[in-house]
């Protein structure tokens, strides 16, 4: 699958992935038998840096449209594409379906973040690191903001504390700009916070 390889390499090149949410609306072409075919809306996440983003978009929508309704690329149309945006920490639950070398699996993942796009970015990077699943092999089924009571993952639940307090163990000593970075230092840095 040549396209998959391209996406894979792009994924690793562009590590600074800023995910945007796109809302794609499409439907099958109106035909004689079906004057007003049902319009389907799908939320997609992708970065801008895919050069053939539009192709990806079309692939996605045709894949899903085809599953839902008898529509092929030739007889369906994309109606609109727009983006979304928001700064309060929320707990998100993501249901996803991903393809591993063995087969397809379903997963539920819980993350904490301020924005939806931030969670999606987190999810993609974490799936890639923990399960070696790349961007094209993940399908997001549902994303929901969850009240703190319903959070399942301990990793998120440990931050549900209004009097949270923990020390930072190691101080990362680095120059304030990359220009001031040097290979050698005169003295050993002090890593104690």
């Amino acid at each position: 699958m040549k396209k998959m390889e391209l996406f894979d390499t792009l994924f690793w090149f562009y590590l600074w992935l800023q995910f945007h949410q796109y809302q794609v609306v499409g439907r099958a072409h109106p035909t004689e038998s079906d004057e007003h075919p049902k319009i389907y809306r799908m939320k997609l996440w992708a970065t801008n840096e895919f050069s053939d983003f539009w192709v990806l978009l079309n692939i996605f929508i045709k894949y899903f449209l085809r599953k839902l309704k008898k529509a092929k690329k030739s007889n369906s149309q994309v109606l609109t594409i727009n983006e979304k945006n928001p700064t309060k920490i929320k707990n998100y639950g993501i249901w996803l379906r991903y393809q591993s070398c063995i087969g397809y699996h379903n997963m539920y993942k819980g993350y904490r973040d301020t924005t939806l796009n931030g969670v999606v970015k987190q999810m993609y990077t974490k799936m890639a690191s923990r399960h070696r699943v790349r961007f094209p092999c993940i399908q997001i089924i549902k994303i929901v903001t969850i009240p703190a009571k319903l959070c399942k993952r301990d990793n998120s639940k440990q931050f549900h504390n209004s009097k949270i307090k923990f020390p930072l163990v190691v101080k990362k000593v680095r120059p304030p700009t990359r220009k001031l970075k040097t290979t050698y230092k005169a003295s050993r840095p002090n890593l104690f916070m």
């Binding site: 700064t87 993350y111 301020t114 009097k163 930072l168 680095r174």
Partner: protein
């Protein structure tokens, strides 16, 4: 050594990297292990990685995610600005800033002031060592201590 500075709601931190470098911010909530929601009177509330923050000794009394106005009031009440500027860390940063903003004429004036100071210093030092200025000639170590006191007084 136990930890003295904790990440907690109300902890004041200095941004040590990035666009907001040098700003004093308050940790207003914790997103997860690596990031905090951070706020300051003159910036939009945003999330920041802990790697960009250096915790300070100052902590203010606020609830989780306060309104901007509440935050500003709490900062005034805790007198963050003055506490920071009087702390040794804060003072060092102010001196650094001052030094980088000197122009050539200022540097010239500074050079003259330094020369003047050291001339007086050395005269006094030799005077004390020989016993001319003080009745008893002192040992070098004691001289250094006395002169250090003098230096602190004149530098202040």
């Amino acid at each position: 050594m136990p930890f003295k500075r904790y990440v907690e709601i109300g902890r004041v931190a200095l941004v040590n990297y990035g666009k907001d470098y040098g700003k004093l911010v308050v940790i207003v909530d914790v997103v997860d292990q690596n990031r905090a929601l951070v706020d300051a009177p003159d910036m939009v509330r945003s999330q920041m990685n802990f790697k960009r923050l250096t915790l300070a000794d100052i902590k203010i009394d606020i609830n989780r995610v306060p309104k901007k106005k509440t935050l500003i009031d709490a900062m005034e009440k805790a007198d963050v600005k003055n506490k920071w500027e009087n702390s040794s860390w804060g003072r060092k940063l102010i001196v650094q800033k001052r030094r980088t903003s000197l122009n050539d004429f200022d540097r010239f004036k500074l050079m003259l002031a330094k020369i003047k100071f050291w001339v007086v210093f050395n005269v006094l030092k030799i005077g004390i060592m020989l016993g001319i200025l003080f009745p008893i000639p002192m040992k070098a170590g004691m001289v250094r201590q006395e002169l250090a006191k003098l230096k602190k007084e004149t530098a202040a």
